[in-house]
């Protein structure tokens, strides 16, 4: 059964904007993105929103719904009361382009700063041999759809614009962890994580994990293990001594 839903949608651009009230039809089984599309079709044809798959796999329709970073296509209208006003705003951490569309270029910049997979010099593509249990840990991280909800939610950059230079954000620290756990990667990821990508800024408050639509355990399986690996390299004299005596790095085992 359909009903008239009350919505507040942020309209505007970098020069300013405001929450605009709408009353719009909501039908059974719909998600927030359906309603935004109905607004475009019936009341606000110039309302901008980014979307692609409508299946929670492209990571395009990230927004903040009642203040929570969510995918619009994965937020069912049935989770709200019929008389509840649903507020939809763009991601706060990134520059707004128009209405619900933000410029997420920050994330691509941070992605490019992570040194790519570095196999041993004497190993050519096609010669890679790995066992499943050696790669399955990092396969969880490959589920990432790059919706950037974690990047948007992380208070390190959400509340502190100045930290954007030093801090890569959870998505790219997870990428660093993925590479450091890769059985064939030879690059020094531990020093890079701490000194180039700002792992020390992370205070593990787990908001990245809370908002991840792919339910990746970003904090427990990537960020904390990476912090422990950094401790091995930089803050643990016993591991350092062991690596000297046994003539192998802590990551070779």
């Amino acid at each position: 059964m359909g009903y008239k839903g009350k919505f507040k949608v942020w309209r505007g651009d970098a020069s300013g904007g405001d929450l605009t009230d709408f009353e719009v039809e909501v039908n059974e089984g719909e998600v927030v993105l359906d309603v935004i599309h109905r607004l475009q079709a019936t009341q606000a044809p110039d309302m901008a929103c980014r979307w692609n798959c409508k299946a929670g796999k492209c990571g395009s329709c990230s927004a903040e719904i009642n203040g929570k970073p969510r995918l619009m296509c994965m937020t069912r209208m049935s989770t709200f009361e019929e008389d509840e006003t649903v507020t939809v705003t763009p991601l706060r951490t990134f520059p707004v382009i128009k209405d619900l569309v933000t410029d997420v270029g920050f994330n691509y910049t941070k992605g490019r700063e992570v040194k790519s997979f570095t196999p041993p010099a004497d190993l050519k593509p096609g010669e890679y041999r790995m066992q499943q249990i050696d790669v399955e840990r990092s396969q969880e991280f490959r589920k990432c759809i790059e919706c950037f909800l974690c990047q948007n939610t992380c208070h390190v950059v959400r509340d502190h614009e100045e930290n954007k230079v030093a801090f890569a954000g959870p998505r790219y620290l997870m990428r660093v962890a993925e590479l450091d756990m890769h059985p064939l990667d030879t690059a020094d990821r531990k020093n890079a994580a701490q000194e180039e990508h700002g792992l020390g800024y992370c205070n593990i408050t787990k908001c990245c994990t809370e908002v991840c639509p792919e339910h990746i355990h970003i904090t427990d399986n990537a960020l904390i293990p990476m912090k422990e690996r950094v401790v091995d390299k930089k803050y643990d004299p016993l591991v350092w001594l062991g690596s000297k005596i046994r003539r192998r790095s802590s990551s070779d085992a």
Partner: protein, 274 residues
Amino acid sequence: MATDTIAPGPEAPAPLSPARAKIEQKTLRTDRWWLSPLLTLLVLVAFIFYATFRAFQNADYYADGLISPFYSPCLATSCVPDSALGGFTPFGSWWALSPALLILIFPLGFRMTCYYYRKAYYRAFWQSPPACAVAEPHGKYTGETRFPLILNNAHRWFFYAGLIFNVILTWDGILAFRNGAGQWGHMSVGTLVLLANATLLWLYSLSCHSCRHAIGGRLKHFSKHPVRYKGWTLVSKLNHKHMLFAWVSLFGVALADAYVALVANGTFSNPTFF
């Protein structure tokens, strides 16, 4: 988010990008996001008050062969008779303060640097952030990049020390199979209390992220270390419940101490099974 919407912190907030969407509210969340940090704050403050009082009380920590976990091992000559483990009192008689103060730095340090408790107190005490997508009140943030919070990287050392304490507290539970006269083959409610406390502390320690790392997480090739991989898999399962074990073991320590204190001060006698 407009810069003037962030509550004033200790320093003036650095300006957010002027190109961000200008939304005045600190958060638009409509759920009770404040409830979880508030409960965390209240429970931890209550524990801190209780633990501080008991640590300085220097009394009612040993009775009927039961020793409070706050005072074990008791390492000073001033410890009440029979409470020192094997009569081992390396601090001798010069230590005049409560013997609990000699040892509590270790469990305190373990919990202060714990990855779960860090989340809890950063949110509840420092409001950094108070909840996800809720603006924090501080103008500047450097996280764990500098002193003192960089010391949280010492978590593994407190973990190792905690293991020693777990062994001692487990032994305390075994010693509680003696009666007040020191004869073996007896069991009381106090025995169960101390053993339950030790079990919860083992679960908390073994589910720790540093434990998970040490036992196998640091490896690149699980396939070369099948035993450590098995250990890592088991610890990973426990690690999923680390928050639960953190809380339950905290209550367990406080309740075990309170039980011993009530027996020691004569509020009630320790009921025996045999």
